[in-house]
Amino acid sequence: MSNDSHHEENFLQKYIFSVDHKVIGLQYGITSLLFLFFGFCLMMVMRWQLAYPETSVPIVGWLLGESDILMPEIYNMLGAMHGTIMIFLGVVPLAVGAFGNYIVPLQIGAPDMAFPKLNAASYWSYFIGGVIMLASFFMPEGAARSGWTSYPPLSIFETGQTTWLIGMVFLITSSLLGSMNIIVTIVQLRAPGLSWFRLPFFVWAQFVTAFLLVLAFPPLEAAAVLQLMDRVAHTSFFLPSGLVYSGATVDVYGSGSPLLWQHLFWFLAHPEVYVLILPAMGIVGDVIANNTRKPLWGYKSLVYASVFLGFMSFIVWAHHMFLTGMGQAMSAFFQTTTMIISIPSVVILTAFFISLWGASIRFTTPMLFALAFLPMFGIGGLTGLPLGVGASDIHLHDTYYVIGHFHYVVAPGTIFALFAGIYYWFPKITGRKMSEALGKLHFWPSLIFMNGVFMPMFIQGLAGVSRRLYDGGQLYAHAQDVLQWNEFMSISAFCLAAAQIPFIINVFVSMFNGEKVDRNPWGATTVEWSAPSPPVPHANFEGDVEVYRGPYEYSVPGADKDFSPQTEK
């Protein structure tokens, strides 16, 4: 782990195979934003089909095979890949890989991550996983098409799944390496004086997230290996005896269980959803403290709540499996844990709300996104409650209500928080601020159209429209009353896409022409703002860092400024 900052680095060492956490963080960030964009494009093709079933798809129709109409098997393929890409290749790498990598060492005053080479390995493993996932579209078998949940037996019979599994093994490995690194970095490399309760909330959120990844991902890796065996070596871990598939009995030993996959999958995938939300909450906490010009209210309760949330997230997974024939005892257990886990979320949100009281709120672009996060996550979280109660889930399970629920938490929730983070830390990364005007032009339409896409989903869900329907429910009698929403949602989605144009322009324009700013343009308190912008390669800070106070000392009575940086005596 030689870390010699003196010798000259060539282009490859500096920008491609770098071991500097900042470069790796940027690599993560750029790759994952591209994947987010790509995942969104897949969804727009699907949304076209949902609004105007079986009509030719404009612009990209020629990519869809002989006819330029989206066929059901391609619809399923795009759906599965949208879910996979958004979660494993988009949000997690952006929230943990990019923000975790770039910001955490800076916020704790460390020169780099604890294991720089491992860090690079983590990125490249992610990259390979991403390439495999992308390549699967061009393989003769096509990409996976059994949903991102890959429930067997379907996933064993369908094509394309093998590539998906191999890709997942790389992605899992990447996450494991990355989060081990984050844990060690946070435990070991905190600057002198930076005790646990002086850590910014963002660091805490990343810390808990890293534990979730380290401990929840391996069982999915095990499951992926088992599914790979089922597909490649014809074992039958997930196949029961007596299967008849397309007219013929399936020639395997049998005696396996499809539910085993669901247990192992959700053992990861439930903690995973908190992996998506915790870093987002961390960003929102930092941005809110900065723009309210006052300390986060109930900092300690925030920390305890997120640790508790992380712990509980390991024992709620089967609320995704209520309708697999679960009996009274276990359904009661999982309903109870699900209700318990909603409490820390309420605590966190409450603390954020109360932080607003008595504040002096600046409506900067990052703050707008962070503020919008609150009610949007509120809607998403609250609609999780009827899903968490087994009895009401009977009606809502696998309907668009679920789709609405989780998109509210991940899209206007997490994605907004990530946008907030990008606007907030952009000056640290480039030394230039992003344009506020373009930022607002990005924010308002995004807010409106996000709701336009996802709000009607609750209506369709209450009507009982199933998810993953190729024609959006045209055939079903009970969907007739709510079908008209499909076109509305799709148009909103296209407008949402258009609303991202100011953002993309903003990123590129501001990178070269944005307003130049000094190292602490927001008047922030946390340690990263005492480093130069951009921070020193391979060292981050010019000298030794020492921390003297808590993370959010804004508007301290008697202080001469309205912020007291952690590094100032």
Partner: protein, 199 residues
């Protein structure tokens, strides 16, 4: 700027980076094998009564017992190699590490005969759920053995000499970490042995 606590311990945690790192890694390994053990139990319950025991009886207990002893011995030799470094005896380290590698190799050879023996009798992972999980668990365990051999082999070859001369503290540290990993591989086998062969 140098990353702190690579070799020396951080005063408040009493740990160096790689020590903590390896334990976090092992924690994730526990969950990996935990997932597989969970699958084993689940499948055993789903299978017809006696099915697992019937197929399990096709495995060779003597071979596995021998392998268990081999792995346990390698655990001892690896810790002896670390202890030798602590006592600044590089030659002894070389010998013990060589023995460890030898044990690992022996384990693989026995495993090779076990596998091919099964194949000759027409037994493959697809033959039964038990055989499926047997091949998966032992196969994954073997991959861990091979991984460990690569790391330890790296430190055993001439490269080790150089590092020992330039930075003995760090080298000892590396061996300790590699040893921890190796003990874990041994530990997994301690559970695999009874659940696959004896029950």
């Amino acid at each position: 700027m140098q990353i702190p606590y690579i070799v020396e311990e951080r005063p408040d945690t009493g740990l160096n980076n790689s020590k903590l790192g390896i334990w976090v890694f092992l924690a994730s390994e526990i969950m990996l094998f935990g997932g597989l053990f969970s699958a084993y139990v689940f499948l055993r319950m789903a299978a017809p009564v006696g099915d697992f025991a019937y197929w399990g009886s096709k495995l060779s207990i003597p071979m596995a017992t021998f392998n268990t002893i081999v792995l346990i011995s390698s655990s001892v030799t690896v810790i002896m190699s670390w202890a030798s470094l602590k006592m600044k005896d590089f030659e002894k380290y070389k010998m013990y590490m060589g023995l460890t590698l030898l044990c690992a190799f022996l384990f693989l050879v026995v495993k090779y005969f076990e596998y091919t023996g099964k194949f000759h009798h027409g037994i493959y992972p697809s033959s039964s759920t038990f055989m499926g999980i047997y091949f998966t668990l032992t196969g994954l365990h073997m991959l861990h053995i091979i991984g460990g051999m690569i790391v330890m082999g790296y430190f055993w070859l001439p490269f080790g000499n150089k590092m020992w001369q330039s930075d003995p503290e760090r080298f000892t540290n590396r061996i300790e970490v590699a040893g921890l990993y190796w003990h874990f591989v041994d530990l997994v086998w301690i559970f695999l042995f009874p659940i696959l062969y004896l029950l």
